[in-house]
């Protein structure tokens, strides 16, 4: 009797254990392995760079730390691992990545939204070692053209006289005209022609604001101008035939399209002087532009969607590349329109370790594709060696585990940053995620690959 009871008990316990294992199986279809973190891992895991994805990274840090409270802490690097990221612009991120603090706890990864130039690559190869670093996409998002025109009204239709709050429509040609100084006032005929229903475009100078730091957001935006203004405005000057920005017109023949992350204030400076247009104001970071446009009327700027929503700025509807029924459509940036753009862009190369000729998925075809969308990357070190103030193994394991989580669970919509009900960042396509995880598995510490299980 006793033995049978014991056998039954064992069966019951075994069944319970098995069923709990089944129940605990990951519901997502992606990889279930994750890097092992040695016990006693403490320290900061910090990086810097692009401000475009900052809101998303902060949300990921919060959610991931909450999901792993035993190892990851929100502060107190003595008790566990603490994730941190500081904006500073894509240029600063690249400089820090190869700078004197590389691979220390304060500089374990860098963010950039602009494709690395060959000069950057050479410099990083020299500083870090060829093949010992990788550029992995983390997220993607739309850039909103924001403006501050209080009291802008439009007629409901051409025949009606009833007025409602207006939303400005813009296209690449007009944005290029505004930033290069050819379009100086809000009631310019080109803007009016695109917005026939708006009744009160003011007869004042457009207050143009752009990034003053080397910015990946500028790079994405410049890529858009380059493609959308390719014929009318000779790629808005973003081509290798535009030899210097003392060129006072865009009539040079278009050579290879090359967007730049240079501050538009400097890029278009000489052209604006020759046209007698006021200088472009420069601000640091997406947050800087957002607060500037918020505080000053008659201004226009470009920011990632998260910042536009967080500050409650007016967002322009951008013209699509494709026509529907012979007419262009005008889209607001959103999860749907941006995701459609990424799919339609169907890049000839994957965004993982993009070559110098990679073009951000801007101005994609399709009538539901929002035209200004870009990937944001993290540059990571693949080869770590202990010693000096270099980050410890636990910190590297922690970073790799976080990045793996960001590519799996982190891509679910509950972990994507949204503001005012609008999701501001996109999940990456599953093929891209798998490629990123392949890169993550290459991380070595003291010449041994990290253990994943």
């Amino acid at each position: 009797m006793q033995t049978r009871k014991r056998i039954r008990l064992t069966f019951l316990v075994g069944a319970l254990v098995l069923s709990s294992l089944v129940g605990a199986a990951p519901t997502s279809a992606t990889v279930a392995t994750t890097p092992v973190i040695d016990s006693g891992a403490v320290g900061k895991i910090a990086g810097s760079g692009a401000t475009f994805p900052w809101s998303q990274y902060d949300k990921w840090f919060e959610d991931f730390t909450a999901a792993n409270p035993s190892i990851f802490k929100t502060s107190n690097t003595g008790a566990g691992l603490v994730l941190d990221y500081t904006g500073g612009g894509s240029s600063a991120g690249v400089t820090n990545f190869k700078g004197t603090d590389k691979q220390k706890a304060t500089q374990m990864f860098s963010g950039t939204d602009s494709v690395l130039s060959s000069a950057d690559r050479t410099n990083i190869d020299t500083a870090v070692g060829a093949g010992k670093w990788s550029v992995v996409p983390m997220t993607a998002g739309p850039i909103a053209m924001v403006y501050n025109l209080p009291g802008l009204k439009q007629k409901v239709s051409a025949s009606s006289s009833k007025k409602v709050k207006a939303t400005l429509k813009l296209n690449g040609e007009i944005v290029c005209g505004i930033y290069s100084g050819q379009i100086e006032q809000w009631d310019d005929e080109k803007i009016a022609a695109l917005n026939p229903l708006i009744t009160n475009l003011p007869n004042v100078d457009i207050g143009v604001v752009a990034r003053s730091d080397g910015s990946g957001t500028t790079f994405i935006w410049a890529s858009y101008l380059m493609k959308s203004a390719a014929t009318a405005q000779k790629a808005c000057g973003y081509h290798s035939g535009f030899t210097s920005n003392t060129s006072t017109d865009f009539s040079a023949s278009v050579a290879t399209l090359t967007p730049a992350k240079t501050a538009p204030g400097d890029y278009f400076g000489a052209m604006r002087t020759s046209l007698g247009a006021a200088s472009i104001s420069g601000q640091s970071g997406n947050a800087g532009i957002a607060s500037y446009v918020d505080a000053n009327s008659n201004t226009v700027g470009y920011v990632e969607l998260a910042f536009a929503k967080a500050n409650g700025l007016s967002i322009a509807s951008m013209e699509t590349k494709s026509k529907s029924g012979g007419k262009f459509k005008y889209l607001q940036p959103s999860l749907a329109t941006a995701a459609a753009a990424i799919t339609a862009a169907a890049a000839t190369e994957d965004p993982v370790n993009p070559s110098t000729s990679f073009v951000q998925p801007v101005f994609a075809s399709g009538t539901n594709s929002y035209p200004i969308v870009g990937y944001s990357w993290l540059i990571i070190y693949l080869d770590w060696h202990s010693g000096g103030s270099i980050a410890s193994k636990g910190q590297v394991q922690g970073l790799t585990r976080f990045l793996n989580w960001a590519m799996t669970t982190g891509q679910l919509s509950s972990h994507l940053y949204s503001e005012g009900g609008a999701q501001c960042y996109l999940p990456l396509p599953s093929t891209v995620r798998a490629l990123v995880i392949t890169e993550l598995k290459k991380v070595k510490y003291d010449d041994t690959l990290l253990v994943w299980n």
Partner: protein, 328 residues
């Protein structure tokens, strides 16, 4: 003191103290001089890569700061033109001084000559407190609130009156610029005002009472006493106060970068965005990838140093002349 007393003091155990003391003082001076020399030599060293792609005259006269990029034929194009920054630095400092000097000196005169004693003590304390406020706090106040208020009041008054005649003070009243050189100058002026008041007050207070009494005794009014006796006597000290304040204004980074608009060109009007050297260096230092870029910022630093040097020499020259004139 008689001759005998003098020699008696110098004898005995104390005879070594003087030379040692002199040596220590001399060493301190040499150390300060060495630090300055090292600074200049380092700056020049850092800036050397720039001079391989840029010549100093072009650097100072061109206002196109575009950085270097590669042309399709492989040559490097673009350049670093600091004229916009130099213009911004000089102009904002001049505006700051034009605001702070008269207001500061008159405030100091009031505090010393006219204010009731208790009020004077209280006001002096407050002024010194304000002088101690960090620049970044004032910059925050400026960008959050003050900038817009200045735009809608002072800027608008100037633009709609003098601005109609002078093109570089003009502005479209319906669309005032969101950031301007003029406003940066005013914010700077507000920051250095307490310093001017505090130092001038000390200087004016140190004018001997006997001079004042003598003049009043001859039948002069308060205003005449101030104008003919106190201010001329305190002139050198006040010039020193103004120079001190000017030095702070020229190097001011945070408060300026928040309101000036970071546009590296010479603006068409003082009511448009501009840029100063300190603000540019602070903004761009994080992104210097190449030795040429670092060199350009070091060259800007050298330019700033030379501007400060030039201004301080000029002030010295002016005050020396007036002192000589007063004595002769």
């Amino acid at each position: 003191m008689t001759q005998n007393e003098g020699t008696r003091l110098g004898q005995g155990r104390l005879s070594l103290a003087d030379p040692i003391f002199r040596l220590l003082l001399g060493a301190a001076v040499i150390l300060a001089g060495l630090l300055l020399a090292t600074l200049i030599v380092s700056l020049i060293g850092y800036s050397m890569p720039l001079w391989t792609v840029e010549n100093p005259l072009h650097f100072i006269t061109s206002d196109v700061w575009s950085g270097l990029s590669q042309a399709p034929d492989g040559s490097t194009v673009g350049g670093f033109g600091a004229a916009g920054m130099i213009f911004g630095t000089v102009v904002t400092s001049i505006i700051a001084i034009l605001f702070a000097a008269p207001v500061g000196i008159f405030a100091a005169v009031y505090l010393v000559e006219f204010a009731p004693k208790r009020l004077a003590t209280l006001l002096t304390f407050l002024v010194e407190l304000i002088a101690a406020i960090p620049s970044v706090v004032i910059g925050l106040w400026a960008v959050g609130d003050l900038s817009l208020r200045l735009r809608d009041s002072v800027e608008w008054w100037v633009a709609s009156s003098i601005g109609k005649i002078i093109p570089w003070l003009s502005e479209d009243p319906a669309a005032p610029a969101a950031s301007s050189v003029f406003r940066a100058g005013l914010v700077l002026g507000m920051m250095i005002l307490p310093m001017v008041v505090a130092v001038s007050r000390e200087v004016i207070r140190s004018v001997p009472q006997s001079l004042r009494e003598g003049y009043v005794g001859m039948g002069a009014t308060r205003w005449e006493t101030i104008r003919h006796v106190i201010l001329p006597t305190a002139k050198v000290g006040i010039a020193g106060a103004v120079l001190l304040a000017l030095g702070r204004a020229i190097g001011e980074t945070i408060a300026v970068t928040m309101v000036i608009g970071n546009a590296s060109r010479i603006p068409g009007s003082l009511f448009q965005s501009g840029q100063t050297i300190a603000s540019k260096i602070a903004g761009s230092i994080a992104e210097t990838g190449t030795p040429e870029e670092l060199g350009s910022l070091a060259a800007l630093g050298l330019a700033l140093f030379l501007i400060t040097l030039g201004l301080s020499l000029a002030v010295r020259f002016i005050t020396r002349r007036s002192v000589v004139g007063a004595n002769s």
